[in-house]
Every structure is written in structure tokens, then in C-alpha cells.
């Protein structure tokens, strides 16, 4: 099955053929956006795991900042415990995303097979799934960060007094160089999105391995 490297197929060189199959990122984005917004219910289920994890993370961040504002620094062991909880939360979230997306791949086996019949490469399928996960992760994270921050701000307000919250480091960085409120907000969103995309890798690879012939199959 060896061929000379400069052989032509269908009248074109190998490089030309490679160049002629494409899925621009803008188009992949458009298709993925469609999937996310039209299957909103399913997207919300996947995004809700991210929502909860990021809400938890942002709540912890906010609690630490509020404590600092009230002059009640949390000691290292306490902070370590909270960090550990957040990591566990993220792990559970990741498993949830993997599960939901694997289900999605199973449901969409015919569409994926069809796309391969239309000329899609494996990497196109991976691209679409990762963009979908990034979108769900992004929106879930933003919503989660807002919710987590709000709830913790209210709770801290009642605990240490809303006046004290005025001393909170609202900016990106606080006076002592560590993260401020906005900084934590950004970090939470980025963390949630990255978590989403990384969790989607396994399902995306599974989707890419489906064959074009699957478009003809009558059952899963």
C-alpha cells in the first residue's frame, strides 16, 4: 500500500487535497452555537455542573476576601481545606460533563456519520465538540460566578456587616498583591471554561472515531 510521495490522486497532489478540505473556525463556531442554543435543555444540563462548581469556587473566593476585609484572615489549614473542597467539586463537575457529552455523542451518531459522508475530517468533529463545550462552559461559568459571588456577598454582609464589605478589594488585585474580587471573578470563569473543554476531550475523540458508515445504521 505504498505510494510515491509525489503521486497524484484525482489529478491533485496530496498537499492540494489537504488544502481543499477545510472547516474554518468561524463556521465551526456557527454550527456549535446552533447546537448549543437549539438544544437548550440539554445544554443547560451540561452547563449546570459547571455553574455549580464555579459558583462554589467564587463563593470561596468571596468568603476569603470578605474575611480579609473584616480583618479575619483565614489560616493556612482552613484555606487548604477549602481549596481541597473546590478541587473535589471540579472533579465531580468534570465527570458530569464527560457523562453528559458522551450521551450526546451516542444520540448524534447518525449526524456525525453523515457529516463524515459529506467530507468532514475527524478533526472537524473534535473541533465542533470542543467549541460546544467551551460555549457551555463559558456561559455556565459566568452565571455560576455571578451566583456564587452574590450569595456569598449577602451571607458575609449579614455576618460581618455590609459596611465592612466596603473594604473589600474590588479590583483585579488587592493591596497585598493577591487577587481582588474582579481578579477572582475572571479566574473562576477561565477555570470553569477550561474545565469544560478538557472534560470534552474524551467525548470528542469518541465522536471523531465514528465511521461514515454509521450514518446508515439503524440502531446505536
Amino acid at each position: 500500500m505504498t505510494r510515491r510521495s509525489n503521486a497524484t490522486v484525482f489529478g491533485l497532489s496530496r498537499e492540494e487535497i489537504r488544502r481543499q478540505i477545510q472547516l474554518p473556525w468561524s463556521e465551526a463556531f456557527r454550527i456549535s452555537w446552533r447546537y448549543v442554543t437549539i438544544r437548550l435543555g440539554r445544554s443547560l444540563v451540561t452547563a449546570s455542573t459547571v455553574f455549580l462548581s464555579v459558583a462554589f469556587l467564587m463563593a470561596i473566593f468571596t468568603m476569603v476576601l470578605a474575611a480579609k476585609a473584616a480583618g479575619q484572615e483565614l489560616d493556612a489549614p482552613t484555606r487548604a481545606r477549602y481549596l481541597w473542597s473546590v478541587l473535589m467539586g471540579f472533579l465531580i463537575c468534570s465527570v458530569g460533563i464527560i457523562n453528559a457529552l458522551l450521551m450526546s455523542v451516542t444520540e448524534r451518531f447518525r449526524e456525525i456519520g453523515t457529516m463524515k459522508c459529506l467530507g468532514a475530517l475527524d478533526e472537524f468533529i473534535v473541533r465542533m465538540f470542543l467549541i460546544e463545550a467551551a460555549l457551555m462552559g463559558l456561559f455556565g461559568s459566568i452565571a455560576g460566578a455571578l451566583a456564587g459571588a452574590l450569595i456569598m456577598l449577602l451571607w458575609s454582609g449579614f455576618r460581618v456587616g455590609f459596611g465592612v464589605l466596603g473594604n473589600l478589594a474590588w479590583g483585579f488585585r488587592s493591596a497585598d498583591g493577591s487577587l481582588g474580587f474582579l481578579g477572582c471573578f475572571l479566574v473562576s470563569i477561565v477555570a470553569g471554561t477550561i474545565l469544560s473543554v478538557v472534560s470534552a476531550i474524551i467525548p470528542a475523540l469518541r465522536a471523531a472515531r465514528l465511521q461514515a458508515a454509521d450514518a446508515l445504521r439503524t440502531e446505536i
Binding site: F10, I17, Q20, I21, R34, K116, G119, L216
Partner: protein
């Protein structure tokens, strides 16, 4: 060269030389243009647990450019397996499949994708439209993979939808279209990159008699208009009438190949006519 008088047919030496040149070129022309799909002793064996199932036992056939071929046979005859081989959807256990004289087994993933994108158009029994996209977006999806710019995509897509009679429904999603309409969109999609072959797997399988007839009529028209080769794996006897040749498969082998002129289907069609008239 300016023509000042009508050209006379070549005579004498000129004629001889032209004839010789034509003879030299003939085998090359035949190789390039006559057969678009060739299979050579294709065998396929499936491993089902401990049992080996021979789905195809040596199928050799040649399909000419522009032909309308129907592959017919009972369930389990190997019809679908042969279809998959010809369409590059599966690899034979032994033997070869050639499309445009290119051995499919030699193609890497990119070349296979290129083939599926530009040379072959697929039509499925279950229509297989992408549910989250509109009719126009479904039709233009292969064009995206082929790198066609957006404006050109839209124009060509609308033209194709117009040809299949669905121009006003360009913005509808598959859920808003009937079975027959979805299959028309699927046909328009199959034609997106002007392919040389259309592979249809039971295209009328999920359609009622009347709609099935319309679809078959549409396929025949496209076959004649564009010269696109149509290869259909089907149970539908209505296909017999429009096919140039019918390949009957049984037990993984070709049972017989019928030419259009020899097809006898009055009896079968008469029965169906009665049924249709009863419904109408």
C-alpha cells in the same frame, strides 16, 4: 486560423493520420471516461463472535459514467455491504474497488474525505439532515467543507433548492418539512459540490408510494440533465423502470445483471398501480 469557407471533411492522408491518432487515444479515453466505478472480486467477511459471516463472495462489476444502476436483493444478500464498498464507507476483506480508476484502499483519510466531499453525494433512507440547521444550511454544508465562500454558497444552495422545488422553504428546519421534502433537501445536498456519483441507500424506503414516485422521477431527471451516475441500493420495484441496469444480488454474489431493455415489470407495476389508484 480564420475560417473563410466551410471546413471540408478530411480526405486522403489527413484522414488516415487522424484515424491513427484516434485509435491511439481510444484506450486512454476509455480508461478515463468510461467506467466510473469498478470492483474486482470484492469479498467481505464479518466476524460475529466465533462465527465468520461471508457477506460478499467475490463481486466484480463495472459501472459506466452516467448510468442509473439499481442494486436489488433480499435482506442479508450483501446488497448493503456492496453499497458500502462502492461508496467508500467500508473496506473489502479482499479485492479492490476503483472510483475513477483510483483504488480506494490506497487513499488516506484526507483523500477519502475529499472523495466523499466532491466526487460522491449520499442519499439515505432516513434522510439524515442535520436537525439544528435550516434546509439551505444543510444543502451548503458540503460546500463549507469544500471551501466555497459564503456568497457563492448561498447562491448555489438556493439554485439547488429551486431545482428540487423547495426554494420557499429554504429557512425551514427538517422538523418543519415532510418526509418527501426532507428527501428533496437531501438530494439537493448530495448535489452540492457537483459530484460524479450519487449513492442512494433505499431513498424511497421511508416514503409513501406517491412521494416515492416523485423522488424517483426527480433522480431520473437529474441523471439525464447532469449526467451524474446514480447507484441505488433498493427494494423499490418502481426503480426498475428508470434504471439503465439492474444488478440482482443474492447470497453475496451477483445473481444476474439486467439491461433496461430486458426488464419485465408489467405485472409488478400493475399491482402497484391498483394500490396507488385505490389510495388516490
Amino acid at each position: 486560423m480564420v475560417a473563410t469557407e466551410p471546413m471540408m471533411p478530411p480526405t486522403g492522408e489527413m484522414k488516415e493520420r487522424l484515424q491513427e491518432a484516434a485509435k491511439r487515444l481510444e484506450p486512454m479515453m476509455e480508461q478515463v471516461s468510461e467506467f466510473i466505478v469498478r470492483t474486482r472480486d470484492v469479498r467481505k467477511v464479518y466476524q460475529m463472535g466465533k462465527v465468520e459471516v461471508e457477506a460478499l463472495r467475490g463481486v466484480t462489476l463495472d459501472i459506466k459514467r452516467g448510468e442509473y444502476i439499481s442494486i436489488m436483493g433480499p435482506s442479508g444478500s450483501g446488497k448493503s455491504t456492496l453499497f458500502n464498498m462502492i461508496g467508500g464507507l467500508d473496506k473489502p476483506t479482499s479485492g479492490s474497488v476503483y472510483i475513477n480508476e483510483v483504488d480506494l484502499a490506497q487513499l488516506d483519510a484526507y483523500e477519502l474525505a475529499w472523495l466523499r466531499c466532491r466526487t460522491i453525494g449520499y442519499i439515505f433512507q432516513t434522510f439524515n439532515l442535520i436537525p439544528v440547521m435550516t434546509a439551505l444550511e444543510n444543502v451548503t454544508l458540503p460546500m463549507i467543507f469544500a471551501g466555497v465562500p459564503e456568497d457563492e454558497r448561498r447562491d448555489r444552495g438556493m439554485e439547488l433548492l429551486k431545482r428540487v422545488g423547495l426554494a420557499e422553504r429554504w429557512n425551514h428546519k427538517p422538523a418543519e418539512l415532510s418526509g418527501g421534502q426532507q428527501q428533496r433537501v437531501a438530494i439537493a445536498r448530495a448535489l452540492a459540490n457537483d459530484p460524479a456519483i450519487i449513492l442512494a441507500d433505499e431513498p424511497t424506503g421511508n416514503l409513501d408510494l406517491k412521494t416515492g414516485r416523485e423522488i424517483i422521477q426527480l433522480l431520473k431527471e437529474l441523471n439525464e440533465e447532469k449526467g451524474v451516475t446514480i447507484i441505488s441500493a433498493t427494494h423499490d420495484l418502481k426503480m426498475l423502470d428508470v434504471s439503465d441496469r439492474v444488478i440482482w444480488i443474492r447470497d453475496g454474489r451477483i445473481a444476474k445483471i439486467e439491461d433496461r431493455s430486458k426488464i419485465q415489470l408489467e405485472a409488478a407495476l400493475a399491482v402497484e398501480e391498483e394500490l396507488v389508484e385505490g389510495v388516490e
